[in-house]
Symmetry: D3
Subunit: 282 residues, 6 copies
């Protein structure tokens, strides 16, 4: 006899999530490894199958740097942020919007689930404003989201999977690079998403950074906030994005390991989950 | 890592079945054994959770005979059919409608899924006509379904689980006992159900009646029909009900083992299934 | 020339009542006499014809006692309430739900107006809690209504006539006998009915119990309440049900003589009416 | 006890007619006698009360002649038709549209049922073409209806009672006098009315014109047509209008006595009726 | 190359006004001159073409006096108001409703845009109360609007152009003459119109009554009010109607020169306009 | 007094075009000249203002070649078609989708009219198949449209202006360069557009290619087809696109001079137009 424990466990979640929006920050290994890329697309299509409305937000990664180098443009990072003069942003935007984004769109489409690729320009969806570097450096066209207008998403998110590239104009129409974790959090808040899920290349938020098995299974926003000073590296912006999400009416935020196949489904459809779940303060 | 094979396998079925109607003939061990009764109710509620519209059709069984005996009424069967004078039908109807039916309704309700108990009288749903016994005997008020009016079901089946007792008036308003397999098939056809599932106390349709492992996994209506003369006992009306169902626009008919926990879910949500699936001729 | 005074008088009421709900407590002679039974059904169908939404609530009466006796079960009344051990309730429920209720449903259906028979179990419509006898006696499974959920009625009451048997589960799922006057009043309040009408075997509320012509034509809830201590017998629960109805947003409550043909129509569609009308305090 | 025979008889008709359109040609004594005028208005309002959609079509009568004479204009009739030069039509239209029509509208409004007064000009509802007199005389601006556009009626007839004056423009925009019987029949056909009712000053169509009791209770269009040559006077255009109505999808046409109070209600709501009912050929 | 400046200028207004209601008080030269009458009708049809909902309110003028004289009725004006005994009002109403109103309706209809002629009687749209003359004289049936019920307009104004004659019943059903400027303002307020436009026979509100070029292009309600004592003649009721309109939720009120072709379009669709625009106080 | 001839002339067209779709092939000088670019965007926004649904289809032009050269990729044209190996298409797609397209989207957005940038990948909108060069050369990833799925456009075209880059996947998911004239024609046919407008850098279709004033104002598809062999250069694919459009249910196709300001408005909103209008055969 087949073991249907996972199915029995999943069915109530499937009911709970029906018609709900889940915003997924996509990046890292799950975007770079060919096999994980395909499995991720399949899992997202399955979410759509069972009645959820997934929205993907993604950044760029290695492709941008590769084109920069081919074009002989300087590549410079300050505090993890890419220094972005107008020529750099033009290239970054072309790669993000014209290549990475459409690759995801086509992959979902070939699996039978039409998707629509968008960036902040479309329907005036995202508005950014320029921000300096961590020490006040001029980073050029690097921005943070100051407004999300969900109109276009409201038009397409029921029948298509929106795929959003994290680039946005500022008030004067200049394009800005925007951190994709932050963009995902902002979109999730604006949509009143049920969940925001951030794919990473670690197992979750570790109580002991040295111990890969020390994943914190669940924590409130305040618990995370109180320990934020002890965290370092790329986990800081992710945790910050999670805190802002659940404080902005998102039901819960999740940090999961994009290197593990089906981690998305396991986090959503099992009682225990596989990563870190951050919930609003009670 | 959890095995999520069953879940991955089930998700496309969940999508396929969303909003679809499945008519379930309920009876036998799954109705008489306290544990199976509870598990069956849970499984039906899970079907509702994931967006299907289950409709239950049931007969009576031992309870009727027990009350007949307590009331000193004669109990007589001819060719598997209960001889039903008006006094017998009155008792049978009271037990079916006032006890067995409402027990099912209450059990579903306690699991958080409201149900509505009905019989052929309600909304003039079923009309029967009197039929003689296999050798022309006068069986009294025993009938076969000649009309199904789905109005009431259309009003409630989206938000409630209809539970239907197999008793129906004839054109002059006299109540008739009706075979529950036949009633389930007729209701499934009238609703244009996606599936009709018949719970039995055997593993399915056996190609060799002596060999419990010889379950026919799938067959067309014509294949079943061509071998019907080799079948005996209670399997005959069930196979006939299946043939009529799939020839009447029901997507497929299934005979499953009600003695096995979750056989309903395994049949519906796994590629291989666990019983016999009868499909329209190609 | 035909006298059309009654018609002219009725038309404005027909307009006033269009689309309104009227809950009718059915019982007594109008349920036991074959001719009155038929006329009552016709009158209810006419109400539906002219756009009202009648809802019938009924108890059981002699049929229950008859089956109790045939089954050799003890029949015992305390303060007008039937002592109800589980075996008694099972029989009472079978008779109420499986016989009396469906007889009404079939009679309406044969007059061309489909009806749906329900009890408190259906759609979790009624919830009861156990009550002791007038002197604290243990009456067994005798209850009073503590919650009404109108979901199922909202689904069917526009296109069908709901016929409700006064039996309801308590919180743990045990079936309780419930007084039908009280059940009718509770259902009327929950539906925000325009009118609640109680059929009795007397001409109405008599200011002088010895004088059948002393019917009080109209009174406010407070007027009735102030004189309730002078009333005796079955009129007490009826008047109490009326007071609770009009204090719970029901437009008016009526006590009429079920022994008189068409008393229902005369009460509703003539200026003077024929029974007692109880209205909210001004 | 009140006699409610008429009410019982009427209720099925009230159901049958619910939401149906009845076009009423109004004129004669019922328009000229102050008491009948008021009773007619009440009856029409009652029709609206019980869910019918009455539409009134009327002509002018004595008021026009009175104003013609006060203005010193010649009054001339040829074969029952008013010779209508442009000056005459201007006066006739002012009286019909600006006085008679609005009197009816105001009377209905004061009874609590808003009405809307219209003529053929409004919404381009009626288009007429010039017709000669019976012997080819030039009658001036006298026309017959060649087109009915029900747009405006479709907008208002559910919530208001349309009151239509029988005047209509021809294709070049000149106003034409139109026979009101013919206009009522044309409007009824265009609306697919359930009934067209013509008020007259006789008891109905008499099989013996000398015998006021010889009213033909019911006849088919062909029966009327075959005897039309034996009819004389104003009954000819009325019978012709009836024949055209029932041959043009109107359910039935009725000729009733406008001098009798409530004849409209008696015809519609009693089995026997009081005038002549003309039905389509079987 | 064609000059399309006016078109470019107009397009944003066309967008702004789409679906908006504009109430137009029609009278004076634009109603009396045959050419202006035709051009006015064309312009109103164009407004409808581009998605606005024009509503026309008109008075009577010379036609009434002409008929009064032909009928030998005394013509008397007190402070610019016509003394109106019942016979006078009957004639005025016939002319207004049965002639002037329908002429406008037919003219619009011939241009391809169906219109519906109404007066205060229709749908109980307007209710008036009797007012004395400026010095307390008894003017007879002269009234001011005390209630507007927009029901009929809500039913027809999207698909037809309502044309409203300024006559209205008082509470007892007697017809009253009503000033058309005042009626237009009352209708505009009740409809929450975007604009109210008053056609006059002067270029607008002149800051120097002697200087036809001194048109005040725009003013607030308070600015107009503070200078109202310096105004004389027919401009007083117009300015008062404008003040009341913009204080009653009408977006703006306009006084324009009906003697100039297309002044309506020029006022609405050019930045500068051609008359006086009165706006709410800021 | 202002000349409002153009406005009066335009209003009936504005009515005619309300709610209609117009597909505009955008390219040439109107895309390369900064001033014309801004004026074109303004004109498109005005079309949206007055209720039309413009859809823009564009190609790439000089930007692609520039990036090819910066990346050291070979630029080669065969018969006017760019030889497109996968590396070339990747760059072309990035420029088209990530730069040119979003520039148009942002420009419309800054004028207050949100737009949505799309390419053939989005919602599986366009499917292409590989085509050889005019002499059978292997052009690489150059394709022609074989299917248009309008789903995404149906979701957004009412509230946004869709801007479509002419790149599309083939059945195996490889991106193809597609001629923008052909893409515009295919989209117009699939949408059942009212008009398809092609911007060029000539005054229209010239009957004498040497004479810039010899613009053919209007021609049928067959007239164009019969003279197609006399045409040369870039006008051939444009005329072919026009013929296919009007033979595929598009109301009319227009070739206009993108170098002239407001040529789009002049063609659509004046009686004479400014370019060549191609209509279906009569």
């Amino acid at each position: 006899m087949r073991d249907i424990g996972t199915l029995l466990e999943a069915l109530p979640f499937i009911r709970e999530f029906h018609g709900r929006t889940v915003v997924i920050k996509y990046g890292g290994a799950a975007m770079e490894d060919a096999n994980l890329r395909e499995e991720f697309a399949r899992d997202v299509v399955l979410l759509k199958y069972v009645g959820m409305n997934p929205v993907i937000v993604h950044g760029g990664g290695p492709d941008i740097t590769e084109y920069m180098e081919r074009l002989g443009l300087p590549v410079e990072f300050i505090g993890g942020l890419r220094r972005s003069d107008p020529a750099t942003v033009e290239v970054a935007k072309m790669v993000l919007v014209g290549k990475v984004n459409k690759d995801i769109v086509l992959r979902l489409g070939r699996l039978g689930q039409p998707a629509v690729g968008l960036c902040g320009d479309d329907g005036m969806m995202l508005t950014a404003e320029r921000v300096p570097g961590p020490n006040g450096e001029d980073l050029g066209n690097v921005g943070r989201i100051v407004n999300v207008s969900t109109g276009v998403l409201d038009h397409v998110a029921e029948d298509y999977i929106p795929v959003i590239a994290s680039v946005a104009p500022d008030a004067s129409g200049d394009s800005m690079n925007v951190n994709a974790d932050e963009a995902a959090s902002a979109v999730a808040r604006a949509l009143g998403a049920y969940k925001a899920v951030f794919l990473t290349d670690v197992p979750g938020w570790l109580s002991d950074p040295e111990d890969q098995t020390s994943v914190v299974s669940e924590a409130t926003a305040s618990e995370v906030e109180s320990r934020l000073s002890t965290v370092s590296g790329g986990m800081v912006p992710k945790l910050t994005a999670c805190i802002e999400a659940v404080r902005g009416a998102v039901g819960s935020a999740h940090i999961i390991d994009g290197r593990v196949e089906h981690s998305l489904l396991l986090e959503l459809f099992t009682v225990e989950g596989v990563g870190t779940k951050i919930v609003p303060d009670r």
